[in-house]
C-alpha cells in the first residue's frame, strides 16, 4: 500500500540514530564517526533499490549490494586523540537526514489522506 516508504522511514530513522551517536561522541577519545550507506540499508530493509534494467543478454546486472550498511567517515583533519567526529559536518548531515525523514513522512501522509478520502467518499 505504501510501497517502500515504511522501509525508507525506518532507514532514515537509523541514519538519524547513527548521526546522533556521532554527535554524542564528539568528545570521546578514539571514537570513529560512522554513516549509513542508505541504498544498501534500504535494500536490506526490504525497500526497492533503483537498478538498471537488463533487457539484453549482454547487459550487466546493477551493482551488487553487500551486507555492510555502516561505513566509516573519512576525517577532514586528524585529531590528537584519534576522534574523527567533525561536529559541524555531523550537524549538517543530521539536518539533512531530518529533512528527508520528514519528506518521507509527508509522502506517507498524502497516501494516507487519499485512502481516507476514498473510504469516506468526501
Amino acid at each position: 500500500m505504501f510501497g517502500s516508504l515504511p522501509a525508507a522511514l525506518r532507514v532514515h530513522g537509523q541514519r538519524l540514530e547513527t548521526l546522533a551517536s556521532n554527535i554524542a561522541n564528539a568528545d570521546t577519545p578514539g571514537f570513529k564517526a560512522r554513516e549509513i550507506d542508505f541504498r544498501a540499508a534500504l535494500t536490506a530493509a526490504g525497500g526497492q533499490a533503483i537498478r538498471p534494467a537488463t533487457t539484453q543478454p549482454g547487459h550487466l546486472p546493477g551493482a551488487s549490494v553487500g551486507p555492510a550498511r555502516l561505513v566509516w567517515r573519512v576525517p577532514l583533519q586528524p585529531s590528537a586523540d584519534g576522534n574523527t567526529v567533525d561536529t559541524q559536518i555531523e550537524q549538517a548531515k543530521f539536518a539533512d537526514a531530518a529533512m528527508r525523514y520528514e519528506a518521507t513522512l509527508r509522502f506517507m501522509d498524502g497516501r494516507m489522506r487519499s485512502l481516507i478520502s476514498a473510504i469516506t467518499g468526501d
Partner: protein, 133 residues
C-alpha cells in the same frame, strides 16, 4: 526512530557533558586554594569519556573515569600564611584557569548541540504520531 533511542543517545551525552561542566566548576572553585604539602594540594580533575552501546543500536557516551592532573602543584613562598610549612612554602592548586575556561566553552557547546538533536528528534516523533490526521 522506531523507538526512542535518539533520546537515550543524546541524553547520555547530556549527562556526560554535565559531569564535564561539574569538574570544570570544581576546578575553577579550587583554583586559588593552597595546602601545606604537595600531596594535599588540589589537583585539576578531568573526566575521560568512553563509548557506551545503547540497547538495540546506536552508541551513547559514558564517563569512564575522572583523572587528576599529574602536574606538580606550584610552590609559593608565603611565610606569613597559616598553612605554610616549616620552610615558609605553601602549595597552590595546579589549575590552569584559561584551560578550564576553554574546556567549559567546549563542554557547553557540545551540550547545546545534543540538546538541539533531542529537540529535532522530538519534533519528528510528534509529526510521525500525526500522520494521516
Amino acid at each position: 526512530m522506531s523507538s526512542f533511542r535518539i533520546f537515550n543517545i543524546a541524553g547520555s551525552a547530556l549527562s556526560a557533558q554535565n559531569v564535564r561542566l561539574n569538574t570544570v566548576a570544581s576546578n575553577l572553585a579550587n583554583a586559588d586554594t593552597v595546602a601545606s604539602t604537595p600531596d594535599a594540594a588540589y589537583r585539576a580533575r578531568q573526566p575521560v569519556f568512553s563509548t557506551q552501546a545503547v540497547p538495540g543500536g546506536g552508541v551513547g557516551v559514558a564517563v569512564a573515569k575522572v583523572t587528576q592532573s599529574a602536574e606538580q602543584p606550584q610552590r609559593q613562598y608565603q611565610p606569613g600564611h597559616p598553612l605554610a610549612d616549616a620552610e615558609g612554602y605553601v602549595y597552590a592548586a595546579n589549575v590552569n584557569v584559561v584551560e578550564q575556561m576553554a574546556n567549559m566553552i567546549s563542554a557547553s557547546q557540545s551540550y547545546r548541540s545534543n540538546l538541539e538533536l533531542m529537540n529535532t528528534a522530538k519534533d519528528l516523533m510528534l509529526r510521525t504520531l500525526n500522520v494521516g490526521r
